[in-house]
Protein backbone atom coordinates (compact mmCIF):
# COMPACT_ATOMS: atom_id res chain seq x y z
CA UNK A 1 0.00 0.00 0.00
CA UNK A 2 2.90 2.37 0.56
CA UNK A 3 3.83 1.44 -2.98
CA UNK A 4 0.46 2.75 -4.07
CA UNK A 5 0.88 5.98 -2.12
CA UNK A 6 4.20 6.74 -3.76
CA UNK A 7 3.07 5.63 -7.19
CA UNK A 8 -0.15 7.65 -7.02
CA UNK A 9 1.90 10.80 -6.49
CA UNK A 10 4.11 9.95 -9.44
CA UNK A 11 1.17 9.25 -11.70
CA UNK A 12 -0.61 12.43 -10.59
CA UNK A 13 2.39 14.54 -11.56
CA UNK A 14 2.66 12.78 -14.91
CA UNK A 15 -1.05 13.12 -15.61
CA UNK A 16 -1.41 16.79 -14.76
CA UNK A 17 2.02 18.42 -15.00
CA UNK A 18 3.22 16.09 -17.77
CA UNK A 19 6.55 15.68 -16.04
CA UNK A 20 8.25 12.41 -15.28
CA UNK A 21 9.44 13.07 -11.75
CA UNK A 22 12.52 10.95 -11.32
CA UNK A 23 13.14 12.51 -7.92
CA UNK A 24 9.89 11.15 -6.54
CA UNK A 25 11.67 8.50 -4.50
CA UNK A 26 13.71 11.21 -2.87
CA UNK A 27 10.58 12.80 -1.47
CA UNK A 28 9.68 9.41 -0.06
CA UNK A 29 13.12 9.47 1.55
CA UNK A 30 12.57 13.00 2.89
CA UNK A 31 9.23 11.91 4.36
CA UNK A 32 10.85 8.96 6.12
CA UNK A 33 13.61 11.12 7.61
CA UNK A 34 11.25 13.94 8.57
CA UNK A 35 9.16 11.36 10.42
CA UNK A 36 12.27 10.01 12.13
CA UNK A 37 13.28 13.53 13.14
CA UNK A 38 9.83 14.39 14.47
CA UNK A 39 9.01 11.12 16.24
CA UNK A 40 12.32 9.70 17.44
CA UNK A 41 14.31 12.91 18.00
CA UNK A 42 11.86 15.70 18.76
CA UNK A 43 9.37 13.36 20.40
CA UNK A 44 6.11 14.58 18.93
CA UNK A 45 3.46 11.88 18.66
CA UNK A 46 3.47 9.34 15.84
CA UNK A 47 0.50 10.78 13.96
CA UNK A 48 1.67 14.36 14.29
CA UNK A 49 5.09 13.22 13.06
CA UNK A 50 3.63 11.50 10.01
CA UNK A 51 1.51 14.54 9.20
CA UNK A 52 4.50 16.85 9.57
CA UNK A 53 6.59 14.57 7.34
CA UNK A 54 3.98 14.63 4.58
CA UNK A 55 3.66 18.40 4.87
CA UNK A 56 7.42 18.87 4.82
CA UNK A 57 7.93 16.67 1.78
CA UNK A 58 5.03 18.41 0.02
CA UNK A 59 6.52 21.84 0.76
CA UNK A 60 9.89 20.71 -0.60
CA UNK A 61 8.21 19.33 -3.71
CA UNK A 62 6.19 22.48 -4.36
CA UNK A 63 9.36 24.51 -3.94
CA UNK A 64 11.25 22.37 -6.43
CA UNK A 65 8.49 22.92 -8.97
CA UNK A 66 8.14 26.63 -8.22
CA UNK A 67 11.82 27.53 -8.21
CA UNK A 68 13.32 25.16 -10.80
CA UNK A 69 11.03 22.92 -12.79
CA UNK A 70 8.77 25.64 -14.17
CA UNK A 71 11.72 27.29 -15.88
CA UNK A 72 12.02 24.45 -18.35
CA UNK A 73 8.38 23.95 -19.38
CA UNK A 74 7.95 24.21 -23.13
CA UNK A 75 11.63 24.16 -23.91
CA UNK A 76 12.70 22.13 -26.92
CA UNK A 77 13.86 18.69 -25.90
CA UNK A 78 11.92 19.10 -22.68
CA UNK A 79 11.77 15.37 -21.90
CA UNK A 80 15.54 15.11 -21.65
CA UNK A 81 15.71 18.28 -19.57
CA UNK A 82 13.07 16.95 -17.17
CA UNK A 83 15.01 13.77 -16.66
CA UNK A 84 18.23 15.68 -16.12
CA UNK A 85 16.69 18.15 -13.70
CA UNK A 86 14.80 15.65 -11.59
CA UNK A 87 17.82 13.32 -11.67
CA UNK A 88 19.93 16.15 -10.27
CA UNK A 89 17.45 16.40 -7.41
CA UNK A 90 17.93 12.72 -6.62
CA UNK A 91 21.64 13.41 -6.17
CA UNK A 92 21.12 16.63 -4.21
CA UNK A 93 18.43 15.33 -1.85
CA UNK A 94 20.32 12.07 -1.26
CA UNK A 95 23.34 14.00 -0.07
CA UNK A 96 21.30 16.49 1.93
CA UNK A 97 19.82 13.53 3.80
CA UNK A 98 23.27 12.01 4.34
CA UNK A 99 24.69 15.31 5.58
CA UNK A 100 21.84 15.95 7.96
CA UNK A 101 21.18 12.51 9.39
CA UNK A 102 24.31 10.52 8.58
CA UNK A 103 24.48 7.21 6.78
CA UNK A 104 23.44 4.97 9.69
CA UNK A 105 20.29 2.93 9.66
CA UNK A 106 17.45 4.70 11.41
CA UNK A 107 14.14 3.40 12.61
CA UNK A 108 11.17 4.61 14.59
CA UNK A 109 8.93 2.62 16.88
CA UNK A 110 5.37 1.76 15.91
CA UNK A 111 2.73 3.45 18.05
CA UNK A 112 1.67 1.12 20.89
CA UNK A 113 -1.94 0.90 19.79
CA UNK A 114 -0.78 -0.60 16.49
CA UNK A 115 1.95 -2.89 17.81
CA UNK A 116 0.03 -6.15 18.07
CA UNK A 117 -1.44 -8.55 15.51
CA UNK A 118 -4.91 -8.28 14.05
CA UNK A 119 -6.99 -11.39 13.41
CA UNK A 120 -9.86 -12.08 11.08
CA UNK A 121 -10.83 -15.70 11.62
CA UNK A 122 -7.66 -17.68 11.09
CA UNK A 123 -5.77 -15.02 9.21
CA UNK A 124 -3.45 -12.91 11.31
CA UNK A 125 -1.78 -9.77 10.06
CA UNK A 126 0.06 -7.04 11.95
CA UNK A 127 -2.22 -4.22 13.05
CA UNK A 128 0.19 -1.71 11.62
CA UNK A 129 -0.28 -3.13 8.13
CA UNK A 130 -4.06 -2.90 8.53
CA UNK A 131 -3.67 0.77 9.41
CA UNK A 132 -1.44 1.40 6.36
CA UNK A 133 -3.96 -0.28 4.08
CA UNK A 134 -6.74 1.79 5.62
CA UNK A 135 -4.76 5.00 5.13
CA UNK A 136 -4.03 4.00 1.53
CA UNK A 137 -7.67 3.39 0.75
CA UNK A 138 -8.67 6.61 2.50
CA UNK A 139 -6.14 8.54 0.39
CA UNK A 140 -7.39 6.86 -2.78
CA UNK A 141 -10.99 7.80 -1.96
CA UNK A 142 -9.98 11.27 -0.83
CA UNK A 143 -8.03 11.91 -4.00
CA UNK A 144 -10.91 10.66 -6.08
CA UNK A 145 -13.18 13.08 -4.25
CA UNK A 146 -10.79 15.99 -4.71
CA UNK A 147 -10.29 15.31 -8.41
CA UNK A 148 -13.93 14.66 -9.30
CA UNK A 149 -15.86 16.86 -6.89
CA UNK A 150 -13.92 20.05 -6.15
CA UNK A 151 -13.07 23.15 -8.12
CA UNK A 152 -9.39 22.40 -7.68
CA UNK A 153 -9.89 18.94 -9.13
CA UNK A 154 -11.84 20.39 -12.06
CA UNK A 155 -8.96 22.75 -12.78
CA UNK A 156 -6.53 19.85 -12.67
CA UNK A 157 -8.59 17.85 -15.12
CA UNK A 158 -8.82 20.85 -17.39
CA UNK A 159 -5.05 21.42 -17.28
CA UNK A 160 -4.43 17.75 -17.91
CA UNK A 161 -6.69 17.79 -20.97
CA UNK A 162 -5.40 21.01 -22.51
CA UNK A 163 -3.11 23.34 -20.62
CA UNK A 164 -3.34 26.29 -23.01
CA UNK A 165 -7.11 26.15 -23.20
CA UNK A 166 -7.42 25.96 -19.41
CA UNK A 167 -5.15 28.97 -19.12
CA UNK A 168 -7.16 30.90 -21.73
CA UNK A 169 -10.31 30.19 -19.72
CA UNK A 170 -8.85 31.85 -16.65
CA UNK A 171 -7.41 28.94 -14.71
CA UNK A 172 -4.24 29.96 -12.89
CA UNK A 173 -2.13 27.19 -14.41
CA UNK A 174 1.24 27.86 -12.72
CA UNK A 175 -0.35 27.99 -9.26
CA UNK A 176 -2.27 24.78 -9.85
CA UNK A 177 0.83 23.01 -11.13
CA UNK A 178 2.77 23.97 -8.00
CA UNK A 179 -0.14 22.84 -5.86
CA UNK A 180 -0.45 19.47 -7.55
CA UNK A 181 3.31 18.98 -7.31
CA UNK A 182 3.14 19.72 -3.60
CA UNK A 183 0.19 17.37 -3.14
CA UNK A 184 1.87 14.55 -5.06
CA UNK A 185 5.20 14.85 -3.27
CA UNK A 186 3.30 15.00 0.03
CA UNK A 187 1.85 11.60 -0.88
CA UNK A 188 5.38 10.38 -1.47
CA UNK A 189 6.43 11.80 1.91
CA UNK A 190 3.42 10.21 3.63
CA UNK A 191 4.37 6.89 2.13
CA UNK A 192 7.95 7.27 3.36
CA UNK A 193 6.81 8.24 6.85
CA UNK A 194 4.45 5.27 7.09
CA UNK A 195 7.18 2.91 5.89
CA UNK A 196 9.71 4.16 8.43
CA UNK A 197 8.57 1.87 11.28
CA UNK A 198 8.38 -1.18 8.98
CA UNK A 199 11.55 -0.87 6.97
CA UNK A 200 14.63 0.75 8.39
CA UNK A 201 15.34 4.19 7.04
CA UNK A 202 18.53 4.50 4.99
CA UNK A 203 19.80 6.96 2.44
CA UNK A 204 19.58 5.39 -1.01
CA UNK A 205 16.14 3.96 -0.31
CA UNK A 206 14.78 6.64 -2.61
CA UNK A 207 16.31 4.96 -5.64
CA UNK A 208 14.71 1.59 -4.91
CA UNK A 209 11.40 3.31 -4.36
CA UNK A 210 11.42 5.23 -7.62
CA UNK A 211 12.03 2.06 -9.63
CA UNK A 212 9.26 0.24 -7.77
CA UNK A 213 6.71 2.98 -8.26
CA UNK A 214 7.80 3.45 -11.85
CA UNK A 215 6.86 -0.16 -12.53
CA UNK A 216 3.52 0.26 -10.78
CA UNK A 217 2.73 3.42 -12.71
CA UNK A 218 3.67 1.93 -16.05
CA UNK A 219 1.55 -1.16 -15.41
CA UNK A 220 -1.49 0.87 -14.43
CA UNK A 221 -1.01 3.44 -17.17
CA UNK A 222 0.94 6.68 -16.87
CA UNK A 223 -1.21 9.42 -15.38
CA UNK A 224 -3.99 7.04 -14.35
CA UNK A 225 -4.82 7.26 -10.66
CA UNK A 226 -6.76 4.00 -10.28
CA UNK A 227 -4.16 2.34 -12.48
CA UNK A 228 -1.63 3.05 -9.75
CA UNK A 229 -3.82 1.16 -7.27
CA UNK A 230 -4.27 -1.82 -9.58
CA UNK A 231 -0.59 -1.79 -10.48
CA UNK A 232 0.46 -1.70 -6.83
CA UNK A 233 -1.74 -4.70 -6.00
CA UNK A 234 -0.43 -6.68 -9.00
CA UNK A 235 3.20 -5.92 -8.19
CA UNK A 236 2.64 -6.69 -4.51
CA UNK A 237 1.16 -10.07 -5.41
CA UNK A 238 3.80 -10.85 -8.04
CA UNK A 239 6.59 -10.10 -5.58
CA UNK A 240 4.92 -12.14 -2.83
CA UNK A 241 4.54 -15.13 -5.16
CA UNK A 242 8.13 -14.67 -6.25
CA UNK A 243 9.35 -14.77 -2.65
CA UNK A 244 7.21 -17.85 -2.00
CA UNK A 245 8.36 -19.92 -4.98
CA UNK A 246 11.68 -18.58 -6.23
CA UNK A 247 13.10 -16.42 -3.44
CA UNK A 248 16.40 -15.90 -5.19
CA UNK A 249 14.76 -14.48 -8.28
CA UNK A 250 11.92 -12.61 -6.55
CA UNK A 251 13.13 -9.20 -7.69
CA UNK A 252 12.81 -10.25 -11.30
CA UNK A 253 9.08 -10.88 -11.08
CA UNK A 254 7.98 -7.26 -11.05
CA UNK A 255 10.19 -6.48 -14.05
CA UNK A 256 8.82 -9.46 -15.91
CA UNK A 257 5.26 -8.28 -15.22
CA UNK A 258 6.13 -4.80 -16.44
CA UNK A 259 7.74 -6.14 -19.60
CA UNK A 260 4.69 -8.29 -20.34
CA UNK A 261 2.30 -5.39 -19.83
CA UNK A 262 4.41 -3.13 -22.02
CA UNK A 263 4.53 -5.69 -24.80
CA UNK A 264 0.83 -6.52 -24.83
CA UNK A 265 -0.78 -3.34 -23.53
CA UNK A 266 1.82 -0.60 -23.80
CA UNK A 267 -0.64 2.09 -22.73
CA UNK A 268 -1.16 0.39 -19.35
CA UNK A 269 -3.89 -1.87 -18.06
CA UNK A 270 -6.43 0.77 -17.12
CA UNK A 271 -5.87 3.44 -19.71
CA UNK A 272 -9.17 3.07 -21.62
CA UNK A 273 -11.59 3.25 -18.70
CA UNK A 274 -9.40 5.73 -16.82
CA UNK A 275 -11.59 7.85 -14.60
CA UNK A 276 -9.36 9.92 -12.40
CA UNK A 277 -6.95 12.36 -13.92
CA UNK A 278 -7.92 11.88 -17.53
Amino acid sequence: MTLFLTASGLTLIFGVVNVFNFAHGSFYLLGAYFAYQAVAVSGVGFWAGVALAALGAGAAGAMMEYVFLRRIYGRSGEAGMQILLTYSFILILDDVVKMTWGTDYKSIARPEALAGPFSIGEITIPRYDVMVIAVGLAVALGMWGVIRKTGFGRNLRAISANRDMASALGVNVPLNLSAVFGLATALGGLSGALSAPVRTVTPGAGIEVIIGSLIVVVIGGLGNFWGALVGAVIIGEATAFGILFLPQWAILFSYAVMALVLIFRPEGLLMKQGVATR
Binding site: I72, S76, L84
Partner: protein
Amino acid sequence: MRIESGSRWGEWAQWGVAFLLFAVVPISGKRYLVNMGNEILVMGLFAMGFNLLYGVTGMLSFGQAAYYGIGAYTVGLLLSRGVVPFWVALPATMAAGGVLALVLGPLCIRLSGVYFTMLTLAFAEMVWGIVFKWYDFTGGDNGIQGIPTADVIHDPLRYYYFTMAVVFLSFWLIRRIVESPFGAVLKSIRENPERTGFLGVKVRRYELAAMVLSGVFAALAGGLFAGYQHSIHPDMLHWTKSGEVILMTLLGGVSSFFGPLMGAAVIIFIEDMIGKYTEFWEIWIGGIMLAIVIFFPRGVIGTIDTWIKRWRSHGNHAGDATHP
Protein backbone atom coordinates in the same frame (compact mmCIF):
# COMPACT_ATOMS: atom_id res chain seq x y z
CA MET B 1 19.24 18.69 -31.76
CA ARG B 2 21.39 18.56 -34.83
CA ILE B 3 24.74 16.98 -35.35
CA GLU B 4 26.33 19.95 -37.02
CA SER B 5 29.18 19.36 -39.37
CA GLY B 6 31.16 22.53 -38.87
CA SER B 7 34.06 23.65 -40.99
CA ARG B 8 36.63 21.02 -41.95
CA TRP B 9 39.30 22.91 -40.08
CA GLY B 10 37.22 23.12 -36.93
CA GLU B 11 36.67 19.41 -37.04
CA TRP B 12 40.32 18.55 -37.58
CA ALA B 13 41.18 20.89 -34.71
CA GLN B 14 38.74 19.09 -32.41
CA TRP B 15 40.17 15.69 -33.30
CA GLY B 16 43.70 16.98 -32.88
CA VAL B 17 43.08 18.61 -29.51
CA ALA B 18 41.26 15.55 -28.17
CA PHE B 19 43.98 13.23 -29.44
CA LEU B 20 46.84 15.34 -28.08
CA LEU B 21 45.22 15.79 -24.68
CA PHE B 22 44.83 12.05 -24.19
CA ALA B 23 48.25 11.32 -25.64
CA VAL B 24 50.13 13.59 -23.20
CA VAL B 25 48.33 12.50 -20.04
CA PRO B 26 50.82 9.73 -19.14
CA ILE B 27 53.78 12.10 -19.55
CA SER B 28 52.75 13.72 -16.28
CA GLY B 29 53.87 10.47 -14.67
CA LYS B 30 50.96 10.60 -12.25
CA ARG B 31 49.18 7.31 -11.94
CA TYR B 32 45.84 8.81 -10.91
CA LEU B 33 45.79 11.00 -14.02
CA VAL B 34 46.30 7.91 -16.18
CA ASN B 35 43.48 6.16 -14.33
CA MET B 36 41.26 9.17 -14.83
CA GLY B 37 42.19 9.44 -18.50
CA ASN B 38 41.37 5.79 -18.98
CA GLU B 39 38.02 6.17 -17.29
CA ILE B 40 37.23 9.22 -19.43
CA LEU B 41 38.13 7.30 -22.60
CA VAL B 42 35.98 4.33 -21.65
CA MET B 43 32.99 6.37 -20.50
CA GLY B 44 33.47 8.67 -23.49
CA LEU B 45 33.15 5.70 -25.82
CA PHE B 46 30.11 4.49 -23.86
CA ALA B 47 28.51 7.95 -24.12
CA MET B 48 29.38 8.40 -27.82
CA GLY B 49 27.77 5.04 -28.57
CA PHE B 50 24.74 6.07 -26.55
CA ASN B 51 24.50 9.31 -28.47
CA LEU B 52 24.22 7.33 -31.70
CA LEU B 53 20.92 6.15 -30.26
CA TYR B 54 19.80 9.33 -28.49
CA GLY B 55 21.34 12.33 -30.24
CA VAL B 56 21.25 10.89 -33.75
CA THR B 57 18.19 8.63 -33.84
CA GLY B 58 16.24 10.31 -31.03
CA MET B 59 15.67 7.18 -28.93
CA LEU B 60 16.22 7.77 -25.21
CA SER B 61 17.32 4.45 -23.73
CA PHE B 62 17.60 4.19 -19.96
CA GLY B 63 19.09 0.72 -20.11
CA GLN B 64 22.50 1.15 -21.70
CA ALA B 65 24.25 -0.12 -18.58
CA ALA B 66 23.09 -3.63 -19.51
CA TYR B 67 25.25 -3.56 -22.65
CA TYR B 68 28.18 -1.98 -20.85
CA GLY B 69 27.94 -4.63 -18.13
CA ILE B 70 27.52 -7.49 -20.60
CA GLY B 71 30.76 -6.38 -22.23
CA ALA B 72 32.56 -6.28 -18.91
CA TYR B 73 31.23 -9.68 -17.86
CA THR B 74 32.10 -11.21 -21.23
CA VAL B 75 35.73 -10.24 -20.69
CA GLY B 76 35.57 -11.13 -17.00
CA LEU B 77 34.02 -14.57 -17.40
CA LEU B 78 36.02 -15.63 -20.45
CA LEU B 79 39.38 -14.50 -19.07
CA SER B 80 39.03 -15.48 -15.41
CA ARG B 81 38.28 -19.02 -16.57
CA GLY B 82 41.02 -18.91 -19.14
CA VAL B 83 38.69 -19.95 -21.94
CA VAL B 84 40.16 -17.70 -24.60
CA PRO B 85 42.96 -15.12 -24.79
CA PHE B 86 42.27 -11.41 -24.39
CA TRP B 87 42.47 -10.77 -28.12
CA VAL B 88 39.48 -13.04 -28.65
CA ALA B 89 37.57 -11.93 -25.56
CA LEU B 90 37.60 -8.24 -26.46
CA PRO B 91 35.95 -8.65 -29.88
CA ALA B 92 33.61 -11.15 -28.23
CA THR B 93 32.23 -8.29 -26.08
CA MET B 94 31.02 -6.60 -29.24
CA ALA B 95 29.27 -9.77 -30.35
CA ALA B 96 27.70 -10.14 -26.90
CA GLY B 97 26.45 -6.54 -26.89
CA GLY B 98 25.09 -6.93 -30.41
CA VAL B 99 23.30 -10.18 -29.61
CA LEU B 100 21.74 -8.74 -26.45
CA ALA B 101 20.47 -5.78 -28.46
CA LEU B 102 19.11 -8.15 -31.10
CA VAL B 103 17.16 -10.00 -28.38
CA LEU B 104 15.86 -7.00 -26.41
CA GLY B 105 15.66 -4.52 -29.27
CA PRO B 106 12.70 -6.00 -31.18
CA LEU B 107 10.65 -5.89 -27.95
CA CYS B 108 11.64 -2.32 -27.09
CA ILE B 109 11.15 -0.70 -30.51
CA ARG B 110 7.53 -1.77 -30.61
CA LEU B 111 7.01 1.25 -28.37
CA SER B 112 8.08 4.86 -28.58
CA GLY B 113 8.64 7.87 -26.37
CA VAL B 114 8.44 7.42 -22.61
CA TYR B 115 7.35 3.80 -23.03
CA PHE B 116 10.46 2.94 -24.99
CA THR B 117 12.57 4.51 -22.25
CA MET B 118 10.74 2.59 -19.54
CA LEU B 119 11.00 -0.72 -21.33
CA THR B 120 14.75 -0.38 -21.85
CA LEU B 121 15.03 0.41 -18.15
CA ALA B 122 12.98 -2.64 -17.18
CA PHE B 123 14.99 -5.05 -19.32
CA ALA B 124 18.28 -3.58 -18.13
CA GLU B 125 17.20 -4.03 -14.52
CA MET B 126 16.31 -7.64 -15.30
CA VAL B 127 19.78 -8.24 -16.70
CA TRP B 128 21.22 -6.59 -13.60
CA GLY B 129 19.06 -8.78 -11.35
CA ILE B 130 20.26 -11.93 -13.09
CA VAL B 131 23.93 -10.98 -12.82
CA PHE B 132 23.46 -9.91 -9.22
CA LYS B 133 21.73 -13.09 -8.09
CA TRP B 134 23.41 -15.80 -10.15
CA TYR B 135 26.26 -16.47 -7.72
CA ASP B 136 27.40 -19.74 -9.30
CA PHE B 137 28.01 -18.17 -12.68
CA THR B 138 28.72 -14.45 -12.24
CA GLY B 139 29.92 -14.34 -8.65
CA GLY B 140 26.86 -12.32 -7.65
CA ASP B 141 27.56 -9.13 -5.73
CA ASN B 142 31.16 -10.19 -5.16
CA GLY B 143 31.83 -9.50 -8.80
CA ILE B 144 34.91 -10.99 -10.45
CA GLN B 145 38.44 -10.13 -9.35
CA GLY B 146 41.85 -10.80 -10.80
CA ILE B 147 40.92 -10.69 -14.45
CA PRO B 148 44.10 -11.23 -16.50
CA THR B 149 44.86 -9.40 -19.75
CA ALA B 150 47.33 -10.05 -22.54
CA ASP B 151 50.99 -9.84 -21.45
CA VAL B 152 51.88 -7.19 -24.03
CA ILE B 153 49.49 -4.66 -22.53
CA HIS B 154 49.59 -5.78 -18.90
CA ASP B 155 51.45 -2.61 -17.95
CA PRO B 156 48.85 0.10 -17.12
CA LEU B 157 50.53 2.66 -19.40
CA ARG B 158 50.52 0.33 -22.36
CA TYR B 159 46.94 -0.60 -21.64
CA TYR B 160 46.08 3.10 -21.54
CA TYR B 161 47.48 3.65 -25.03
CA PHE B 162 45.80 0.48 -26.23
CA THR B 163 42.47 1.78 -24.89
CA MET B 164 43.12 5.13 -26.53
CA ALA B 165 43.75 3.48 -29.89
CA VAL B 166 40.59 1.37 -29.70
CA VAL B 167 38.48 4.29 -28.51
CA PHE B 168 39.68 6.70 -31.18
CA LEU B 169 39.21 4.05 -33.85
CA SER B 170 35.65 3.65 -32.58
CA PHE B 171 35.12 7.43 -32.66
CA TRP B 172 36.21 7.42 -36.28
CA LEU B 173 33.78 4.58 -37.01
CA ILE B 174 30.95 6.41 -35.26
CA ARG B 175 31.78 9.53 -37.29
CA ARG B 176 31.61 7.48 -40.49
CA ILE B 177 28.27 5.99 -39.43
CA VAL B 178 26.76 9.39 -38.59
CA GLU B 179 27.91 10.90 -41.89
CA SER B 180 26.86 7.94 -44.05
CA PRO B 181 23.54 7.63 -45.91
CA PHE B 182 22.57 5.18 -43.18
CA GLY B 183 23.23 7.91 -40.62
CA ALA B 184 21.10 10.31 -42.63
CA VAL B 185 18.18 7.89 -42.37
CA LEU B 186 18.68 7.68 -38.60
CA LYS B 187 18.57 11.49 -38.36
CA SER B 188 15.42 11.64 -40.41
CA ILE B 189 13.84 9.07 -38.08
CA ARG B 190 14.69 11.40 -35.20
CA GLU B 191 13.07 14.36 -36.92
CA ASN B 192 9.95 12.53 -38.02
CA PRO B 193 9.59 8.74 -37.84
CA GLU B 194 6.21 8.78 -39.57
CA ARG B 195 7.32 10.67 -42.66
CA THR B 196 10.47 8.59 -42.85
CA GLY B 197 8.21 5.56 -42.95
CA PHE B 198 6.19 7.11 -45.78
CA LEU B 199 9.39 7.38 -47.78
CA GLY B 200 9.53 3.61 -47.83
CA VAL B 201 12.12 3.25 -45.09
CA LYS B 202 11.62 0.30 -42.76
CA VAL B 203 11.85 2.49 -39.65
CA ARG B 204 11.94 -0.33 -37.11
CA ARG B 205 14.77 -2.07 -38.89
CA TYR B 206 16.85 1.11 -38.70
CA GLU B 207 15.91 1.67 -35.06
CA LEU B 208 17.01 -1.86 -34.27
CA ALA B 209 20.26 -1.28 -36.13
CA ALA B 210 20.87 1.87 -34.05
CA MET B 211 20.24 -0.11 -30.86
CA VAL B 212 22.61 -2.85 -31.96
CA LEU B 213 25.40 -0.41 -32.89
CA SER B 214 24.97 1.49 -29.66
CA GLY B 215 24.98 -1.78 -27.70
CA VAL B 216 28.14 -2.94 -29.49
CA PHE B 217 30.07 0.21 -28.56
CA ALA B 218 28.77 0.14 -24.98
CA ALA B 219 29.87 -3.50 -24.61
CA LEU B 220 33.29 -2.70 -26.06
CA ALA B 221 33.65 0.11 -23.50
CA GLY B 222 32.69 -2.31 -20.72
CA GLY B 223 35.22 -4.87 -21.96
CA LEU B 224 38.00 -2.27 -22.08
CA PHE B 225 37.17 -1.18 -18.55
CA ALA B 226 37.24 -4.76 -17.22
CA GLY B 227 40.67 -5.27 -18.75
CA TYR B 228 42.03 -2.12 -17.11
CA GLN B 229 40.56 -2.56 -13.64
CA HIS B 230 41.03 -6.36 -13.54
CA SER B 231 37.86 -6.51 -11.48
CA ILE B 232 34.17 -5.99 -12.19
CA HIS B 233 31.03 -5.65 -10.13
CA PRO B 234 27.26 -5.86 -10.84
CA ASP B 235 27.04 -2.11 -10.13
CA MET B 236 28.32 -1.65 -13.68
CA LEU B 237 24.89 -2.82 -14.86
CA HIS B 238 22.84 -0.83 -12.38
CA TRP B 239 20.41 1.79 -13.65
CA THR B 240 22.47 4.57 -12.06
CA LYS B 241 25.15 3.75 -14.63
CA SER B 242 22.61 4.27 -17.41
CA GLY B 243 21.68 7.53 -15.73
CA GLU B 244 25.31 8.56 -15.57
CA VAL B 245 25.86 8.04 -19.28
CA ILE B 246 22.70 10.01 -20.15
CA LEU B 247 23.92 12.75 -17.86
CA MET B 248 27.32 12.88 -19.52
CA THR B 249 25.79 12.99 -22.99
CA LEU B 250 23.27 15.71 -22.16
CA LEU B 251 25.87 17.70 -20.25
CA GLY B 252 28.34 17.68 -23.12
CA GLY B 253 25.58 18.34 -25.63
CA VAL B 254 23.84 15.85 -27.88
CA SER B 255 24.22 18.01 -30.96
CA SER B 256 28.00 18.17 -31.13
CA PHE B 257 30.05 15.16 -32.14
CA PHE B 258 32.52 15.29 -29.25
CA GLY B 259 29.91 16.53 -26.76
CA PRO B 260 29.44 13.19 -25.00
CA LEU B 261 33.20 12.76 -24.56
CA MET B 262 33.41 16.26 -23.13
CA GLY B 263 30.53 15.49 -20.77
CA ALA B 264 32.24 12.31 -19.62
CA ALA B 265 35.44 14.24 -18.94
CA VAL B 266 33.64 16.96 -16.99
CA ILE B 267 31.66 14.52 -14.84
CA ILE B 268 34.58 12.23 -14.07
CA PHE B 269 36.85 15.20 -13.33
CA ILE B 270 34.31 16.71 -10.95
CA GLU B 271 33.71 13.39 -9.22
CA ASP B 272 37.42 12.95 -8.75
CA MET B 273 38.29 16.46 -7.61
CA ILE B 274 35.39 16.81 -5.25
CA GLY B 275 35.71 13.23 -4.04
CA LYS B 276 39.09 14.14 -2.58
CA TYR B 277 37.75 16.87 -0.34
CA THR B 278 34.38 15.57 0.69
CA GLU B 279 32.40 12.38 0.56
CA PHE B 280 29.40 14.42 -0.53
CA TRP B 281 30.28 14.78 -4.18
CA GLU B 282 26.81 13.88 -5.42
CA ILE B 283 25.36 17.17 -4.25
CA TRP B 284 27.97 19.05 -6.28
CA ILE B 285 27.25 17.01 -9.39
CA GLY B 286 23.55 17.58 -8.80
CA GLY B 287 24.01 21.31 -8.24
CA ILE B 288 26.19 21.78 -11.31
CA MET B 289 23.76 19.74 -13.37
CA LEU B 290 20.88 21.84 -12.14
CA ALA B 291 22.70 25.04 -13.07
CA ILE B 292 23.47 23.68 -16.53
CA VAL B 293 19.87 22.63 -17.14
CA ILE B 294 18.58 26.03 -16.12
CA PHE B 295 21.26 28.24 -17.68
CA PHE B 296 23.09 26.21 -20.35
CA PRO B 297 20.47 23.89 -21.82
CA ARG B 298 22.53 23.16 -24.93
CA GLY B 299 25.28 21.45 -22.98
CA VAL B 300 28.87 22.57 -22.54
CA ILE B 301 30.04 22.37 -26.15
CA GLY B 302 26.68 23.56 -27.47
CA THR B 303 26.85 26.65 -25.28
CA ILE B 304 30.44 27.41 -26.27
CA ASP B 305 29.39 27.04 -29.91
CA THR B 306 26.58 29.54 -29.40
CA TRP B 307 28.99 31.99 -27.77
CA ILE B 308 31.45 31.66 -30.63
CA LYS B 309 28.71 32.21 -33.20
CA ARG B 310 27.40 35.24 -31.33
CA TRP B 311 30.92 36.64 -31.03
CA ARG B 312 31.55 36.10 -34.76
CA SER B 313 28.31 37.68 -35.87
CA HIS B 314 29.01 40.52 -33.46
CA GLY B 315 32.43 40.98 -35.10
CA ASN B 316 30.86 41.06 -38.56
CA HIS B 317 28.52 43.81 -37.52
CA ALA B 318 31.17 45.82 -35.68
CA GLY B 319 31.37 48.51 -38.36
CA ASP B 320 27.64 48.56 -38.89
CA ALA B 321 26.31 51.69 -37.22
CA THR B 322 22.68 50.68 -37.57
CA HIS B 323 23.28 47.46 -35.66
CA PRO B 324 21.88 47.84 -32.15
